[in-house]
């Protein structure tokens, strides 16, 4: 029985372009207090465009209703549990939204005089300091715009340091459980990618690693806990293997929500890592960005950090552009400052003890789900799990139902699906990360829903294959979308 939700009315809505009528508008500009300039005279007639064909013409209330109606077609954390593994969908505190809108911060121009930017720089310095403490690293750059951007920054740092020693080397090792961004990043920084097989505990196989690491190896990109939610128990040894050959260890910090206050990558041998501030530090995902990908590094990599670097001299903060060994800029200005404000607000609200409590609650919730579901779904790795648990659909595929189908059925029970079919080393993965946000009551509903679906699969697999039943749209045809891509609206020939 579905306990969490029931159907209710959802409004239909056309596209903006289809609801436009000539002359409608939703704005009012102030009166112009200077003489109006004729565009054709100022720019040359040929440089001036005619009307923007097809552009919307709607009123303010139509705009409000349009986007509010669309919003009701979305699921969101504020509606309920969102157990996407490796995505850390935790509550996004609303105070963070308010402080990011503080006038002096939100309207600060990146080129305004440094004397009028001390407040912003203090925020940046405070966040750099807190993240260095949390990761056990020596320095932090907040410039990267997202996790994958942070990965690129980190691998560029490694490359620059090796080049300075005389040889950038040729290859980067990635476990087969790695996020797809890892190999894609290594390739963008000019490295060949070598995949390393995981052992039957879901961990990096140290014997395989020893065979793979040689004088051409620049780095290993490792996620810890890894994508099956398992802490790499031999991580210290792994780091030693790399360091003994002059290679470095990069850590993908996507799963840092399992470690804050409990273990620090800098203490277990990591040279450089990124943090997804939109995961571990609660800044909203916003339907897919903006995020921020802070990079924390050991002192030996700091000379290569992106410019500009924040400096503190004679009681004032400033930007240091004179950094001869820098990898250069990875984006314009100083990073996604508005996201950084939110992350610092999260850290301040929790404090050191609160951050550790959040980690432990996230681990507790994942283990509780594991216990509640292990009799119903196949658990490919018996190793203890941290903040997420990965099942496989092996038992359900015998009835013809796959992880993606279970995910769709879960929607009918009022939950966002878990992460589907990742990591690749697990056949038909169900990757579940509850985060610390969820109460026991919400998690019990989730376990109940998953158990119920497992029973449905035994009794009536055909029913599950057609889920979801309660959403605005039934299953969406992704194959046709990719075969004949339509990526923009066009007026229908009949209408014109």
């Amino acid at each position: 029985m579905v306990k969490k939700v029931r159907s209710h009315i959802s409004q239909n809505e056309q596209l903006l372009f289809e609801m436009s009528s000539p002359g409608k508008k939703g704005y009012q500009l102030p009166d112009l207090d200077v003489p109006v300039v004729d565009p054709a005279a100022a720019l040359g007639g040929q440089a001036v465009r005619k009307e923007i064909e097809g552009f919307p013409e709607v009123s303010e209330v139509e705009v409000i209703r349009h986007f509010t109606r669309l919003s009701t077609w979305n699921y969101a954390i504020d509606l309920g549990m969102y157990p996407l593994g490796s995505c850390t969908m935790k509550y996004n505190p609303r105070v963070n939204e308010q402080v990011a809108r503080t006038e002096g911060l939100a309207w600060a121009h990146p080129y305004q005089p440094e004397s009028l930017a001390q407040g912003m720089m203090e925020v940046i310095a405070a966040l750099e300091g807190a993240l260095a403490e949390i990761t056990g690293m020596d320095a932090v750059t907040l410039q990267p715009a997202a996790g994958a951007h942070g990965e690129m920054t980190g691998i560029l740092l490694i490359r620059a340091a090796l080049e300075k020693q005389g040889n950038p080397r040729k290859k980067v090792l990635c476990p087969d459980s790695a996020h797809g961004t890892n190999p894609a990043t290594a390739q963008m920084v000019g490295y060949d990618v070598v995949n390393i097989k995981s052992n039957d505990l879901g961990m990096v196989d140290v014997a395989e690693l020893v065979k793979a690491v040689d004088g051409d190896t620049a780095a290993l990109m490792v996620t810890n806990p890894n994508t099956v939610g398992v802490f790499e128990e031999h991580i210290v040894q792994v780091a030693e293997v790399l360091h003994s050959k002059g290679a470095m260890i990069y850590m993908d910090g996507a799963n840092m929500n399992a470690l804050v206050g409990v273990a620090r990558p800098g203490d277990f041998g990591v040279d450089v890592m990124h943090l997804n501030l939109h995961k571990t530090f609660s800044t909203p995902h916003g339907g897919g960005g903006p995020g921020a990908g802070a990079v924390a590094m050991k002192a030996h990599l700091e000379p290569f950090a992106p410019t500009p670097r924040l400096k503190f001299e004679n009681g004032l903060y400033g930007w240091d552009y004179n950094r001869p060994d820098t990898i250069g800029r990875v984006r314009a200005f100083y990073g996604n400052f508005g996201v950084l404000v939110r992350a610092l607000a999260y850290i301040m609200a929790h404090g050191g003890p609160g951050l550790r409590n959040a980690t432990m609650d996230a681990i507790l919730n994942a283990n509780y789900i594991r216990k509640g579901l292990e009799a119903f779904f196949d658990l490919p790795y018996q190793s203890p799990c941290m903040h997420e648990v990965v099942f496989s659909d092996d038992r359900q595929t015998k009835k013809g139902v796959k992880t993606g189908d279970i995910a769709k059925r879960l929607i009918d029970y009022g939950f966002h699906p878990y992460t589907v079919s990742f990591p690749l080393i697990v056949h038909g993965a169900l990757m579940i990360e509850p985060t610390e946000t969820e109460s026991k009551a919400e998690i019990d509903l989730f376990i109940d829903a998953m158990q119920s679906i497992a029973r449905e699969i035994d009794e009536d697999p055909q029913m599950v294959l057609k889920a979801p039943y309660t959403t605005r749209t039934s299953r969406v045809d992704e194959t046709t979308a990719a075969r004949k891509p339509i990526v923009r609206w066009k007026p229908s020939p009949a209408a014109s």
């Binding site: 440089a47 919003s71 969101a76 305004q112 009028l116 273990a263 992704e478």
Partner: protein
């Protein structure tokens, strides 16, 4: 919960972490603060900024009025606290809006396809160059010196290790536009793309026809960059370009000390499979109703891994939403009216200065002022933030600054600047 799991203490759940990897002390971060303290902390830091100062800074980040409605919409929980719309059946809100966004980007730029957005304008530039390299099978990039200096730095960082040499093209000292002779001398059969910005970093509008003809005659692609999106309301769409990239900050995104912003990338239909990042496509559900979903994901890292078009794994959905709401409010007429106000304000200010370049400009221009730093110091005494001194980026323009005026710049503020600069008529 502990009982159900079968442990007696929560710390048993992390007992398998080896002792040498564990943190055996509390984090050195002060205990949690109240909401009051947090709001106060950031307010105090904001108050030491430039509240109330008129400013004439542009240079890639522009002050435009932000309609209240747009900020209300982006704070809807269903947009703010949702994830990337992989599960189409419960993400039609975000997917529909991105489809509208992609359409508007096409309408504004004259391109046929656009993606769901990029990190920002600066990172969209190297992504465009990488795309051009994939399309042409060539490896060289030519970039105008009048492309935003920080964008060019980002281009260098990205291309350095991908076997993609980058060379710069000068500008015409008279007009401030691209130096066509320099382009003719440097373009060759290895050139994958030529990257220009318009209005360029000097605010000058480039003339595309001859430029595009030369680029295409050599088999290279033309990449058009913009930093001031409002210009698209007035200027001809860059139909001559093959790839258009730019920064959306002007569409309702607060300057926020440099981010978060959002970039766009748009191109011709024939290049759709080489576009990086996320794309939303139209399709149907099993009942035949219109629906939207993420599409062509075989280009992307989570499928292709090291063979992907880019390592990019996100867009800037919420920022793009803000831009979409903004453009809906302004619409067909409003964007033009807004652009005319920008043009008028900048030309009022500009008419009082000796123009450094003769080329037409939109809402910013280069003024020869002698000692820009000294002028800015005098302005700061009057609580005015002046223009951007150009010597740091262009040593030959050390006597000049870049000045910007938007619809938010009031005439009395401009008159005060002119008085301090000794430019009142």
């Amino acid at each position: 919960m502990l009982g159900a799991i079968g442990v007696s203490h929560i710390d048993e759940l992390i007992a398998h972490i080896p002792a040498e990897a564990r943190l055996n002390r509390p984090l050195d971060i002060p205990a949690g603060k109240s909401e009051f303290d947090i709001v106060d902390y950031f307010r105090e830091r904001g108050d030491r900024g430039a509240n109330g100062y008129p400013t004439f800074l542009g240079a890639g980040v522009y002050r435009h009025f932000r309609p209240v409605v747009a900020d209300v919409i982006v704070q809807r929980s269903e947009f703010l606290t949702s994830y990337t719309p992989y599960q189409a059946e419960i993400a039609q809100g975000t997917l529909t809006q991105i489809f509208e966004f992609q359409t508007m980007v096409c309408q504004l730029t004259g391109m046929e396809v656009a993606n769901a957005s990029m990190y920002d304008g600066s990172t969209a530039v190297p992504e465009a160059a990488m795309m051009a390299v994939r399309i042409t099978g060539r490896n060289k990039t030519l970039v105008a010196r009048t492309v935003h200096p920080e964008y060019r730095e980002v281009l260098d960082t990205y291309t350095k290790h991908q076997g993609m040499p980058v060379a710069e093209l000068g500008y015409d000292a008279e007009t401030g536009r691209l130096d066509m002779a320099d382009l003719a001398a440097k373009i060759d059969s290895d050139t994958a793309c030529v990257i220009i910005q318009s209005p360029n970093f000097f605010g000058t509008v480039e003339e595309l026809d001859a430029l595009a003809e030369l680029v295409h005659s050599k088999g290279a692609l033309l990449v058009y960059v913009f930093t001031e999106a409002v210009s698209l309301g007035l200027l001809q769409p860059p139909l001559q370009a093959d790839i258009v990239v730019g920064e959306l900050q002007s569409f309702c995104i607060s300057p926020a000390y440099g981010g978060p912003f959002a970039g766009i990338i748009a191109t011709k239909e024939k290049f759709i499979r080489q576009i990086p990042g996320r794309l939303v496509g139209e399709t149907k559900d099993t009942e035949g109703r219109r629906a939207f979903c993420l599409t062509l994901s075989t280009r992307e890292q989570h499928i292709r891994r090291e063979k992907a078009t880019s390592n990019i794994c996100t867009n800037q959905a919420l920022i793009a939403l803000m831009g979409t709401v903004y453009l809906s409010l302004f619409g067909k007429e409003g964007l033009r009216e807004l652009a005319v106000q920008n043009l008028s304000k900048a030309h009022y200010l500009g008419s009082h200065f000796e123009p450094r370049f003769s080329g037409a400009y939109f809402n910013e221009f280069v003024a020869r002022v002698g000692d820009p730093e000294a002028l800015n110091a005098k302005l700061l005494d009057e609580k005015i933030i002046g223009g951007l001194p150009l010597g740091k980026y262009y040593p030959e323009l050390a006597d000049s600054m870049l000045l910007c005026a938007t619809e938010m710049t009031k005439k009395p503020e401009m008159d005060k600047l002119l008085a301090v600069a000794g430019r009142s008529k």
